[in-house]
């Protein structure tokens, strides 16, 4: 080992493959995400963006390849003692759980717990992880302030607009102080006038130095916030690079066609 952990990217994805039945959704993905960087995944629907994101916190089990976050294999333990390159053993569920707690995720449909108040939604993860309730409640208050919803602890999700719910979902994901945040089309289920508030929160988060992988169709947002834009098509990365060049003069024909269609 020549490089120390600091110089390694926070997320390393190598040779990732995933099939749903006979359909190959991910066909050999290689990707690095450096600490503090924002990576935006673009591509037509069905190109594998969401599946790639869901492999990062092991909501989907890859069929081949690996995901490494902060130098730790996600979902597997490597046993090098054997011949033929060793084996990857599935981790016990409890350890996967521990790994997930350090990766925040925000969903398209918010997926707030409808029977719990905003406060209970936010402290559920920390309390389960063993953080004292009082401390979790204080942190929740600060997080709500940060997403512009101070004082809404007692509300139920159904009493809030979609944009407010999504901001609560972001606060909930942040409550475990993750090193990495995953956003799966966070504004796609929102009415157009509510998109701005959510993007503003994500923008602030990016500015604070959070490492993020974002699946989105908001090209303008990608141009403004992304350090790297990755274009997927048919389960492969066909082009990646800084937004300035990729979004204005894409070299790959598929990327050109996609951008021409959405812009």
């Amino acid at each position: 080992m020549t490089a120390s952990e600091e110089s390694l990217p926070l997320v390393r994805i190598r040779g990732l493959r995933k099939n749903f039945g006979s359909h190959r959704v991910l066909d050999g993905i290689d990707l690095d995400v450096r600490e503090g960087e924002v990576t935006v995944l673009l591509g037509p629907s069905g190109s594998g963006k969401s599946t790639l994101l869901r492999c990062v916190n092991h909501l989907e089990k890859p069929d081949a390849g690996f995901v490494e976050v902060a130098g730790e294999l996600i979902g597997y333990r490597y046993d090098r003692s054997r011949n033929h390159g060793g084996r990857l053993h599935e981790l016990p569920h409890r350890q996967v759980t521990r790994q997930r707690a350090r990766i925040g995720m925000v969903f398209q449909q918010f997926n707030l717990f409808g029977h719990l108040t905003v406060l209970e939604n936010i402290i559920e993860g920390p309390v389960a992880a063993g953080i004292p309730r009082k401390q979790a409640v204080t942190t929740a208050g600060e997080l709500l302030d940060r997403v512009g919803l101070a004082g809404r602890e007692g509300s139920y999700p159904r009493q809030m607009s979609g944009g407010q719910q999504q901001r609560v979902a972001i606060a909930r994901a942040l409550a475990l102080q993750p090193r990495l945040m995953l956003f799966d089309e966070p504004t796609s289920a929102l009415d157009p006038e509510l998109v701005g508030d959510v993007l503003a929160v994500i923008r602030d988060l990016a500015a604070s130095g959070m490492t993020m992988i974002v699946v989105t169709h908001e090209i303008g947002f990608a141009r403004e916030v992304a350090d790297t834009v990755v274009f997927l098509d048919d389960g492969r990365i066909v082009e990646s690079g800084p937004p300035a060049s990729l979004l204005t003069s894409p070299r790959h024909q598929r990327a050109r066609a996609f951008l021409a269609a959405v812009l």
């Binding site: 909501l59 707690a101 969903f107 997926n111 717990f113 993860g125």
Partner: protein
Amino acid sequence: MQAPDQYIARPLAKRDEDERLLAARLVTSRRPGQWVGAAVLLVLFAMLVHTVVTNGRFQWNVVGDYFVSRSILDGLVLTLWLTAAVMTCGFVLGIGLAAMRLSANPILRSLSFGYVWLVRSVPLLVQLLFWYEIASLYPQLSLGIPFGHEFVSVKTAHLFTGILAAFVGLTVDTAAFSAEIVRGGIVSVERGQSEAAEALGLSRGRIFRRIVLPQAMPAIVPSTGNLLIGLLKATSIVSVIAVQDLLYSVQLIYQQNFLIMPLLMVATLWYIILTTLLSIGQYFIERYYARGKRGDSDPGRGLWQITLGNLPVFGRTRDDLAGLA
């Protein structure tokens, strides 16, 4: 210059009638059929009350004499605690069976499936008789090494008294039906809920307990209320294996004095009272699990208002009631 509170729009098409239409009073539709129906029902109800009161053969004085008599109350108590014990154990087992059925483990899945299939296939009465007579099948029950040494053994006939047979039979049955109710409720919870919980790093048990099960409850409670009321009455079946529940106590009395009808009325009235209490309890439990589903500004209509609202006889609409509240 446009006034600030005016729309910027094309002029609207006008008709002469518009002013009169705007001034007209809204009249909700009359439903003469409802009034006729209500009148017919009232007459039939009056006839029913009349015959029940005036038909001397109901012997209401006998009903009154026995209603809170010692042996009836003993039977009532047995019915109550048998129902409570069976429901509690059966439902807990049912939750476990539902969790097994939905687990990733194929062995647990098949076990749960097989249990539910077998138990639902056998009539309850047959199950009760089976447990009551199990001594004829297995005279001894032993604890020991399979095919090997036995440590303790007990005579089955001593173990399976009527009451234990009743408890086991009813619990086994209730567990199977609860399992299906719970499974239906769990399946009704969106997949995204457990995914979000997984992403937060919650353990499987915690996801089931804290996230999925509470949200399955609104779908579980009504069917469970149904099951519980069914069970309360189904306990009367244990009279066939000589367990002295409410019905059997009544039977013991009328076999001696032949006052069959009044004594059956005693049991019926008690079952009606218990079922009513359970229904009221169910209403409040349903209201509890509906939290987070409506705005704080709407505290929900009360039981009385709902009763009124469901009685079309009074010709009141929901809006009228909302206005009254």
